[in-house]
Amino acid sequence: MKSEKKDNKKPGISVRLRVLLVIVAAITLEATSIIQFVYAQREIKQEASLRAKSELKSAENKIMDVVDQAEAAVRNSIWIAEWCLEYPDSLIRIPQLVVGKNPAVVGSTIALVPGYSEKFPLYSPYATRDLETGEIKILSLATEEYDYPTMEWFTKPIELNDSYWSEPYFDENGGDILMTTFSMPVKDKNGTIAAILTADISLDWLTELIGEIKVYPNAFNMVISRSGQIMVCPVETLVMQTTVDQFALASEDYEALDRVNHAMLSGQSGEMPVRYQGQANHVYFSPVERTGWSLSIVLPEKELYSGVRRIGMIVKLLQLLGLAMLIVILRVATKNQAKYHRLNEQKERMENELHIAREIQMAMIPKTFPPFPERKDLDLAAAIIPAKEVGGDLYDFFIRDEKLFFCIGDVSGKGIPASLVMAVTRSLFRAMSAHEDSPAKIIASMNNSVSETNESNMFVTFFCGVLDLNAGRLRYCNAGHNPPMILTDAIRMLPVEPNLPLGILSGMDFIEQETPFLYDDALFLYTDGLSEAENATQEQFGEARIEQTLHGRKRSQDHLENIKQQVSLFVGDAPQSDDLTMLFIHYLGHANKKSHHLTLHNSIEQITLLPDFVDAVAEEAQLDHEAIFNLNLALEEAVTNVIMYAYPEGTDNVMDIDARVDGKRVSFVITDSGKPFDPTAKEAVDINAEMGERPIGGLGIHLVRTIMDTVNYERKEEKNILTITKNY
């Protein structure tokens, strides 16, 4: 239940986190795009303003070019006109001259101020170029219909006493040509204005020129005259028909229009936002000097920002797409993360539980040392040095009915399965040994249980021993485990039958073995974690090293500490790959046992002391007559050998005979300080040889060998030590 709740809670947190992340991302993206948009707009506006201004300037320059031509045509002819005033007849040639010399000028006149000339009260010859033939025709404007003295081009220069550009007008004679006229006063010697010289220019090119300015596709351009007359405008019906003031008055957006009209008409240059018919527009305007015109470019804001708005839309779409992807990715990621988290949690939990299980197992096996402080006949110590990965080593021991039950085992493999099998094995050992004294039977029933439930095909190498603490007798059974070391007079491997390990075959019989295990004897059990401990060069610790470290009498705990130290010195920094388990049992029973000792001189007569000595030993061992006879014989032969061969004849030396009775075993240790002499090295006598071939000697050692179970010679510290042992 707990884990389920936890699992439900995790995604809850990540959903909130996900939403938060998406919101933050969206806000960031939106803020970025708004800032970008604002700056882009500003840039675009500046750019548009620059472009508009430059276009306006360029248009103005082009207009001025034409204007200058017209002005120049008039100004250059002024002095001739002044000169001709003296000869009024020649005045007619001046317009001809102006038109003829200046292609930009379509018509010209010199109009005399009425009454200035007596000969011509009204005089205004007008030269005009035929647009088709290019011929110059001369007309007279001094007609009643035209009445030139009332014309603006005539009155204004006189009024201003300066040159003047007329308001644009449609040429009444020459068809629908929009015209404008530059007029300049012609003065006589007295400085009196005598006539007005004009040059007409067509404004057709103006519409064309202005039309060429295309800052933006939907932008349009306008030219208005000094009085506000619309000269150029995309709406043709307005051209020359209405003034901007009239247009503004007719519009709902009067105020905005009026403001810009005012600015334009007062000859300013600049830009202004104008709202017209619900649309925001930008109006850039600039005056054309001398003519009093105002050029303007009207730019709808929609048009201006359409590019950036389109990009904005694309950006927004991309942002939405990105956000959607972010959501998807987050969702997948959190799902994966949750999955990974769950897996990890499971793994951790399993490892934890495994460690707990192992700790429980470890707690189950005896770990307090000395385990039986009240017992003086037993010194026992054990240790498990676990590898990093949980393994399957075990040991156990307990005392029941004055018997020490003990075991050591190693489950094949590592990890969880091994650990579980180890726990099972240990429980089985306890269960099976609760009412059974025979190690072979304990192992057999354990084997049956393990084999029947063994689905993982794991096996356990197992050694089980039962030490009778009263009798000093060790019964044991080895199921495929490495043989323990037994420490008696010497250190050797305990002989073991090659039984199969536990868990391989159900219903198998196991062979039990027995050995006297007497006072001061010790048994060292271990797992292959010790013998196969490897150093950095893959060399194994090995049995020889184990044997070496076991030399010398020590407390069990000290033995184990010593071995641990030796192994760790040997292994160095190499990682421990397997559990290392050791069990050391030192038997100190039969504390009231007598010791038998006899010191003999190297004289044959001393042999007679042996029967009593042997009797005493035999009494302790409760031996029968035959056994006594044989022991006596063996001892006599062994001692005779020493007397005869160890020392030079005639010298007085001694030898020591120590006898030990360990339960049903009797051993004699004969020690002398003579020259090295190994009786066991003698060639065996052939007792079946024919009479003739029988040598006289060699029977003595033959008898010792025949009677005793072991005959062991050692040369130690300048001493010959002969140990002969007999088991009963």
Binding site: I604, I607, P611, E626, L633, I687, L699, G700
Partner: protein, 100 residues
């Protein structure tokens, strides 16, 4: 260790009584060596009163046996107890001697 020697019609009877251990064997060796030199047809080694024998004693027996064999004489071992019989067995002496 006591040894009684009696002679009758080329037959020598040697009675051993007690323990024929190494010191005892050393003690009787000269006597036994002399005996082995004598002329006889049969020599009877009576062990009825002998309780113990070690290899030194066996060596004396073997010496007599060899000497007798040289002269074609017979050696009879008589009255050995079980203990000594087992020693004879261990040493292959049962095959070398005529045991009565």
């Amino acid at each position: 260790m006591e040894v009684n020697i009696s002679r009758e019609n080329n037959t020598i009877t040697v009675c051993f009584s007690g323990r024929l251990d190494t010191p005892a064997a050393q003690e009787i060796t000269p006597q036994m060596n002399a005996l082995a030199e004598e002329a006889f047809n049969t020599i009877i080694l009576d062990c009825s009163e002998m309780s113990y024998i070690s290899s030194s004693g066996l060596r004396i027996f073997l010496t007599i046996r060899k000497s007798a064999a040289d002269k074609g004489a017979k050696v009879i071992v008589r009255g050995i107890c079980d203990d000594i019989r087992s020693v004879f067995m261990m040493t292959g002496f049962l095959n070398l001697f005529e045991i009565q």
